[in-house]
Point group: C2
Chain length 670, copies 2
């Protein structure tokens, strides 16, 4: 068993901390009440013996990973119900257990019932008529039926207009006939679809009276409720092994002329009448809401997963000693190598800035939703544009930062039991799902192009793109550089505006030489995606500043200082990375570059004594970290050895392959 | 079964190709004779039915992965022997099968006998006396004994001076006593150590007459040759599951006062006499040779693995159709999105430039070795410095490029059967092993600092750092920018020199304010690592240019054009990424930036029609690609479906977890 004493180096780190961990944690989780709930929830779930792995999942087969994940998933939702019966209810439990860190600590390879709660139920709520809701939601909520949401096909992901599955209305029988006209029409990827769900919301092209009316949702039974056997005409299974999330049971689904009643089309929005008449929905903006909500959640998840990875890497870097700095002195903690600080501390800063940005986006979303209810759609495209690029930039940055944390742990980071790679598997997946990142950046860029033409005409601009106005009025002059935080924000905004202007001009040039608008956009798409990226980074730095300043009013001076140190590191790091662009669009000089680099290095030094204190304050229990390198006690080597001992290969001194293959081979060479 | 017909889009791509694939392939593999050998070897090995997986390894348990890998490894080396008996001998077979692509196509998770050939045998040859070689090499070569090489410990990797394992000489018995004084002294990571090897070269701190004489190699028997049981005092096992290479059987090893004869110290270099007297080696430069050779091989491996990843992603991007460009036209091949080209084509270019640079480094290595034989050590530090940074930059760039290829394949890239992630697992490991990348960059930087002081004194400089002279003579003036290839090379060299100068100055400033040299270096290490990175990139662009120009004299004009297109993309891409630095250190202007971007985009367009032709010419057999997305026939969707059908979960319509967990859970909620 790992030694129970805390590693001496970590003890010393904790003594150096200049602020109260508990105050940080309260701020981080959103208040005393939330923290109390979080701790209760963690105690309630993480103490459950049914969640302890006899053999770590990375040693068992793909099939066993799934079976164990189903077992744990049912235990999880039984316990959620127990909590409800005790009056501890609320969406926070589901959030923590489904997408959140707590869930990832219990089922490392993902929850096969996740999509049931995260997409099937919301689809019923969002698209079902009151009658349909009455019929289905109770059963789904009680898990009498398990559903999934099948949109993506083998041949189509991001471009949903291209989906091929058809739902053709048969007026005679008042039924839809669901059909997969080709292999590429097979549904592919839905979580829980393989062997878990017995119902499904299917997105299909609606045909009636020989005409296609676009894609709509249909509820379809897939398996017998009693025997779980696939129903006639349903071809179903799982899609195989993946980089991560092998508990999720992603599946495929093909239809061979499967009939469902007309009333199984979810008709809250569009409708198909009995006679086959299609009735358009009153407005198409409603679907934006769900998409927005999912993106808020993704940005927050990125913050959480990154906080997990950087907790592991920071603690390990304090325990690990390697190389000397001064030749006559002992080996140093690797965290004292400045290059190591530069790998870890920006990841700490990103965790915090992404979390605050997600909060900010959530506020914007709620504001826009309330405006929507009053019929005011003005800020919807703006919100959509900022959410698109935030999803893209935060997932990409988080993935890179998690990998940097893994690599910062050297060889031991490559061990599965470090759980750094497992965390990467969750994070990198988010670069692709819910809108591929490059596609999303280009969506933001298209919005920015529209805004640019408005700005040039002197029209009023919405808040997130306001900065374009001063850029235009400042025409052809470089923005005066100053390296205060507001100066950095102005500088990064100028970069975004400058890149947008260039992309716009290059599109216009290409149009003049005969390309269509869309061709010109494609030919300029490298620059456009960079302009959207720059817009997003300017927003992150600005939004982070506002959120931090707002936070600090309620914090002790000690914690306020720490939080500002973290923010400043984020801002300087973004500025240093953008130096090339700042040189192009502001008056930044060579001596300013050196000064900026110095400020960045000063920020690293300011954070150094508090690094362990900060990651401790993220308050992630050891079982959720799930890492031999990252546990609170810092007994890294003992835990690595413990994990190795669990390998089934180590249960016997000689593996059978010696007698079967190796010995005959060695003897044959005598 | 996948359709046998080749996908139509791929057929069209192949028709567009402007050069003869075979000519490219001959150039790529190094001549007609090598190509003939390669094709013979591939036919001989890849046709072997014993290499076909009944169940893909990603579906089986960790233990079974190892057992299968041992089985295949013994078949591989039996077949190598058969080839030798047929007179087909030579190091190329071992290279292709051990580190090369062919081996990775046969054993996806790495070869447990690899270290035996790659490190154990070379260690015997490099460190053994003639008598020791006579005793051990025959047995090792015939695989009568299987060895590994144990250097890294749980507590120490890169910093080998810190190794803790001791070999203490006992004059009375003329034996060494091997001992692990702590848990962190356990050997950790050697391939094949877990359950495969029965012998080992162990690196330990040599103690004699109470004095430590530093680290030396010892040959130690680990297991009984007949029963394979670990010998007394030997604690041994495997270290557990990893991100990749789970067939390699990385192990741990602890010694409890294990005695070996004095003659088991490998004494070609340093010696320990019978009376315990330590005799220093005549020169310590010899070990550089092996390290250099390994780095040449790593850079070439990076080229190969990247060529594999980009073959997969490029073919997939031609088959996959997604989104429209012009609204009235059909969905386009994703490769026609310019952002997609920008993900793939630089990876093609890097494959080629890294391969050529590895060839160049190999030539330099041979030249320096022949100078060494004449007692001339002058170019050794230069060679070491360039090899360090090349290893760091090429592994880091290759890892990033492989991940970019994976992400460019969207969701399907996340499937294990894409084999993109498997390739990443191999490549990212190289960022850590054989010298952690940041440590290596800082080694190069230390060399550059020395050279800088020589340059300032007006001393002669060796070829790879010659450029510093013109930078110094050009003092305080920006290099005149021109965007010809030689201009780009000069520009990038100026950047490297400029960054080095700044780092040097900042170290001097810090020393003046009271820091020691080593402290000042650590405080400046972010800038130092960037200077080394810039030095390396300037070398890559220059070396690539020279190697391409040399190649082109022997190529047809058609292929010459293509090869130059590829090189130009590489140069423009590196220049665009360095724009910020070029603005600082050259006269590059804003309009030059736009021009450079345009040249980059022109290069992408030039490569577009030949993209499939180029990756076809890498000549990687389908079994080596091992990818549902990348096969020559482009039947992507059929192959994905075939792979899914192989999942053990899909062999039964209802998984037992339904009856065991899911049904009771669903019924309990009624």
């Amino acid at each position: 068993m790992p030694a129970t004493e805390v590693n001496k180096d970590l003890q010393n780190e904790r003594k150096k901390c200049t602020f109260k961990n508990e105050e940080f944690t309260v701020w981080w989780v959103g208040g005393e009440a939330k923290l109390k709930e979080k701790r209760f929830r963690e105690k309630f779930f993480l103490g459950e013996p049914e969640f302890f792995d006899k053999v770590p999942l990375h040693f068992v087969s793909h099939k066993e990973v799934y079976e164990e994940s189903v077992r744990k998933a049912t235990v999880i939702f039984r316990k959620v119900k127990q909590m409800q019966e005790q009056g501890k209810d609320g969406v926070d439990n589901y959030m923590a257990l489904l997408g959140g860190l707590l869930g990832s600590g219990i089922i490392k390879e993902g929850n096969p019932l996740g999509v049931h709660f995260v997409m099937f139920l919301p689809a019923l709520m969002g698209h079902g008529t009151p009658e349909q809701q009455a019929e289905w939601i109770g059963k789904a909520w009680n898990c009498e039926i398990i559903g999934t949401y099948a949109q993506t096909e083998l041949g189509h992901g991001t471009f949903i207009r291209g989906l091929e599955t058809t739902a053709t209305y048969d007026e005679k029988t008042k039924e839809f006939v669901l059909h997969s006209p080709s292999l590429t029409a097979y549904k592919w990827w839905p979580g829980g679809l393989g062997h878990t769900a017995n119902y499904c919301v299917v997105i299909a092209q609606l045909y009636s009276k020989g005409k296609c009316h676009g894609i709509h949702p249909f509820i379809v039974q897939l398996r017998d409720e009693d025997t779980h056997m696939p129903l006639p005409g349903i071809s179903i299974g799982e899609i195989g092994n993946k980089l991560g999330m092998n508990g999720v049971n992603n599946g495929f689904l093909g239809f061979k002329q499967v009939r469902i009643p007309r009333t199984n089309m979810l008709m809250k929005n569009a409708k198909l009448l009995e006679d086959g008449t299609f009735v358009k929905p009153p407005s198409s903006v409603l679907t934006y809401g769900t998409m927005m909500f999912v993106r808020v959640v993704i940005v927050r998840d990125m913050a959480n997963y990154l906080s997990k990875a950087v907790t592991i890497a920071t603690r390990y870097s304090c325990v690990r000693r390697q190389s000397v700095i001064n030749p006559d002195q002992p080996e140093v903690q690797v965290i004292d190598h400045v290059t190591q600080q530069y790998k870890l501390f920006p990841a700490i800063a990103k965790s915090i800035i992404f979390k605050l940005t997600s909060d900010n986006l959530w506020d914007m979303y709620n504001q826009v939703t309330s405006e929507l209810d009053k019929g005011d759609l003005e800020r919807l495209p703006e919100l959509h544009a900022i959410a698109c690029c935030l999803k893209a930039v935060c997932t990409a940055d988080a993935a890179q930062a998690v990998e940097t944390c893994r690599l910062a742990c050297g060889g031991h980071g490559y061990m599965t039991c470090s759980n750094l790679f497992g965390t990467y598997g969750m994070v990198t997946a988010a670069c692709t799902y819910e809108g591929e990142n490059t596609v999303l950046l280009l969506q933001t860029a298209r919005y920015l192009l529209k805004v640019w033409t408005q700005a040039m005409k002197g029209q009023e601009l919405v808040p997130t793109v306001q900065y374009l106005k001063s850029f235009i009025s400042n025409k052809n002059q470089r923005q005066a550089w100053d390296d205060s935080v507001p100066g950095i924000i102005r500088g990064l905004q100028t970069v975004a505006a400058g890149k947008l202007r260039l992309a716009y001009e290059h599109i216009e040039q290409r149009k003049r030489s005969g390309y269509t608008q869309e061709e010109a956009v494609n030919l300029t798409s490298i620059e456009l995606s960079r302009a959207a990226d720059a817009h997003c980074r300017a927003f992150l730095v600005q939004s982070g500043y506002e959120m931090i300043e707002k936070s600090c009013t309620a914090l002790s001076p000690e914690l306020g200082r720490v939080v500002r140190d973290i923010y400043e590191l984020y801002a300087y790091d973004e500025a240093v990375k953008a130096v090339g662009d700042l040189l192009r669009f502001t008056t930044l000089s060579e001596s300013d570059v050196t000064r900026l680099q110095q400020k960045l290095e000063d920020s690293l030094a300011a954070i150094r004594p508090n690094a362990v204190g900060i990651v401790d304050s993220f308050d992630i229990p050891d079982m959720v970290l799930g890492s031999a390198l990252g546990a609170y006690d810092g007994n890294v080597y003992e835990r690595l050895f413990e994990e190795a001992k669990k390998s089934p290969l180590n249960q016997e001194p000689v593996n059978k392959s010696f007698h079967m293959y190796l010995k005959p081979f060695m003897k044959s060479n005598l």
